[in-house]
């Protein structure tokens, strides 16, 4: 059985990627399972989707713990432990990252036992409408890596899954998928089906019998204020608002008032400051700032500039 996981952000087309790959497998005569996995988070938040494909009926269900192939549509997720990109990777699993950086950099950075590949990313995306192409590209790359999906099967799957979109958009997506397929052709068949798990030598689950804890502790209640600040929603961002303080005229903090996420605070002398740990990158401040003192730059560029894997 092939077990494949796609990681991306809400809005990058991960569900579609898994469906394209699922359909492509199905057309190639495989039994298939594909599904997205959502949390409470929404557009911009890390999400994943997965595909299983096998020659026999599939009985396994749910999240894939030990993937043969992991594809990351958004390289900024790799450094985020909570995104779980590297979960379950072994020496035989392939990691493919859609990235601006090269294989050597990633191999060095991650120090994984298994192979690491890079699907060269398109130019930094400043237009959010472009994001969904990342999913199509990833599906195209996955299709060639498993080695059992023909090029025309991939094309048919893209057309089938995007059927409700305008023809021109479908054609663009087909081109993106096939381009990725061709780009990764050297690695065709690199991904292998995992051997089935043995019932003989296995690690038994460390079950325990939960003990009673009184309701003061075991009721689903939070006994504190504003704990949500521990959630770093800044990781959702694909675009970063940047204040040009030379142009900021210290108005009545328009940006701070309109920011839905309480992410812009204003110092005593009227200077706004953006909390990048939490800013989701909606860009309302960019749209509303009266003197246009706030600009938008792609998050990847901002991160490269900061020379860190994660936003500050």
């Amino acid at each position: 059985m092939y077990r494949i996981r796609f990681h991306g952000r809400g809005g990058q087309g991960m569900k579609t990627a898994s469906r394209i790959l699922g359909s492509a497998f199905f057309r190639a005569g495989y039994e298939v399972q594909d599904a997205p996995r959502y949390g409470a988070e929404r557009r911009g938040a890390p999400i994943f989707a997965y595909v299983r494909a096998a020659r026999e009926p599939i009985n396994e269900r749910g999240v894939i713990a030990e993937p043969d192939l992991v594809i990351v549509a958004d390289e900024s997720l790799v450094g985020i432990a909570a995104a779980g990109v590297c979960q379950g990777l072994s020496e035989r699993s392939v990691l493919l990252i859609n990235s601006h950086e090269d294989v050597a950099t990633w191999t060095h950075r991650l120090n994984l036992a298994g192979p690491v590949l890079v699907l060269p990313a398109r130019e930094a995306v400043a237009d959010r409408a472009e994001l969904p192409f990342a999913g199509t590209a990833c599906a195209g790359a996955a299709a060639v890596l498993v080695g059992v999906i023909p090029r025309d099967g991939l094309e048919a799957a893209v057309r089938e899954e995007l059927g409700s979109l305008p023809q021109q958009v479908i054609d663009q997506n087909v081109a993106v998928a096939l381009h990725a397929y061709d780009e990764m052709r050297d690695h065709a068949g690199l991904v292998r089906e995992a051997p089935t798990r043995s019932a003989k030598d296995y690690e038994p689950p460390a079950w325990l019998e939960p003990v009673f804890e009184d309701a003061r502790h075991s009721a689903p209640a939070i006994h504190a204020a504003a704990t949500s600040v521990q959630v770093r929603t800044g990781l959702w961002r694909t675009l970063r608002p940047v204040i040009d303080y030379d142009r900021c005229n210290k108005c009545w903090w328009v940006c701070s008032t309109f920011c839905p996420d309480s992410c812009i605070s204003v110092t005593d002398d009227g200077v706004p400051e953006i909390d990048y740990d939490h800013c989701k990158g909606c860009m309302i401040c960019v749209a509303k700032c009266p003197p246009h003192a706030i600009g938008a730059i792609p998050e990847t560029d901002a991160r490269d500039a900061a020379l860190t894997g994660e936003p500050s």
């Binding site: 557009r43 938040a45 409408a129 959702w236 996420d261 989701k280 960019v286 509303k288």
Partner: protein
């Protein structure tokens, strides 16, 4: 009733009470309104919530609130507020709780709950004179489940259950509340923060049933780029589609009537849910109908 001390934009708070890090969508117009409202309501409050997007604000162990919170169910948040309010009154009246431990009782629901499933509970609470503030963030659909049509969906809008455009007409919740003769009813929008803050402040200075009905542009459900949340909101007001008004003491007053109304087209055009109205050979007549309805409303106001 104390007159608002909010005279100009500079009087609005520059730091905010509601914590960051919520799971709401980037650019959520409901959250934009809520964070403005929360600055006025304050942390001495308990928010009683019905099922909707905002239910996930408090997801174990994270909450953005500095005060308290109780999630109930989709239909009965006002009844939850009744229980909390009555219990606090009982405890304070019987001397078991010092009065400074009291909390403002606030209901927070979406339009699906406010206009539909929870309307019976709301009507009951108003009729019983419950001392509570009801905040409805109206994103004009069941957004949390993927934006299906609700009783607040406007005529012609596409939703995931009305792909050809909603055939019904948005219910007049302001009017339904006003017909109950409560203490206070107001429409607000996050894109008009001073008007909003004044109204919430006024509502907080009153007792009895009070509604703050906030139109909540929803980038996900209405299909527009999140950066335009405040612009969509401003256009809702300037086209006259979302009249900013309040009901107090039996009178309805429009607080921010647009002097020169913009054509509704400018509001509709920004949103994917109305894209079909602009397609060649589409339902262009609908734009005229929507315009005519808005005009008729304001004709009635101006008369």
């Amino acid at each position: 009733m104390k007159e608002s001390v909010l005279k100009r934009m500079k009087d609005l708070p520059s730091s905010h009470l509601l914590g960051a890090g919520t799971p709401m969508c980037a650019g959520c117009g409901g959250l934009e309104a809520l964070h403005e409202i929360y600055d006025q309501v304050g942390a001495k409050s308990v928010f009683v919530n019905a099922a909707g997007c905002m239910t996930l604000l408090a997801t174990y162990p994270f909450t953005p609130f500095r005060g308290s919170w109780l999630y109930t169910a989709m239909a009965s948040a006002p009844a939850g507020a009744q229980g909390v309010r009555d219990a606090l009154d009982i405890l304070i009246d019987s001397g078991r709780l010092p009065p400074d431990e009291d909390l403002a009782t606030v209901v927070l629901t979406g339009d699906g709950a406010a206009y539909g499933m929870g309307l019976s509970a709301t009507s009951g609470a108003i009729e019983r004179g419950l001392d509570f503030l009801y905040i409805c963030y109206d994103n004009e659909g069941y957004a949390n489940t993927g934006q299906q049509a609700s009783a607040a969906t406007p005529h012609g809008a596409q939703t995931s259950t009305t792909t050809l455009g909603y055939a019904g007409y948005k219910k007049d919740l302001f009017g339904i509340w006003a017909a109950h003769r409560p203490t206070y009813v107001a429409t607000v929008i996050g894109a008009e923060p001073l008007d909003l803050a004044r109204k919430v402040q006024k509502a907080m200075s009153l007792a009895g049933p009070r509604l703050i009905l906030a139109l909540a542009p929803c980038p996900t459900g209405w299909d527009f780029d999140p950066q335009y949340t405040a612009d969509v909101g401003r256009l809702a007001v300037q086209t006259g589609i979302w009249p900013l008004k309040e009901y107090v003491g039996g009178e309805v007053v429009h607080t921010k009537a647009p002097k020169q109304r913009l054509p509704v087209e400018e509001y509709l055009r920004l949103q994917g849910r109305y894209a079909h109205l602009f397609e060649a050979g589409g339902q262009a007549g609908l734009i005229d109908e929507i315009q005519a309805r808005v005009d008729a409303y304001w004709d009635g106001v101006e008369r």
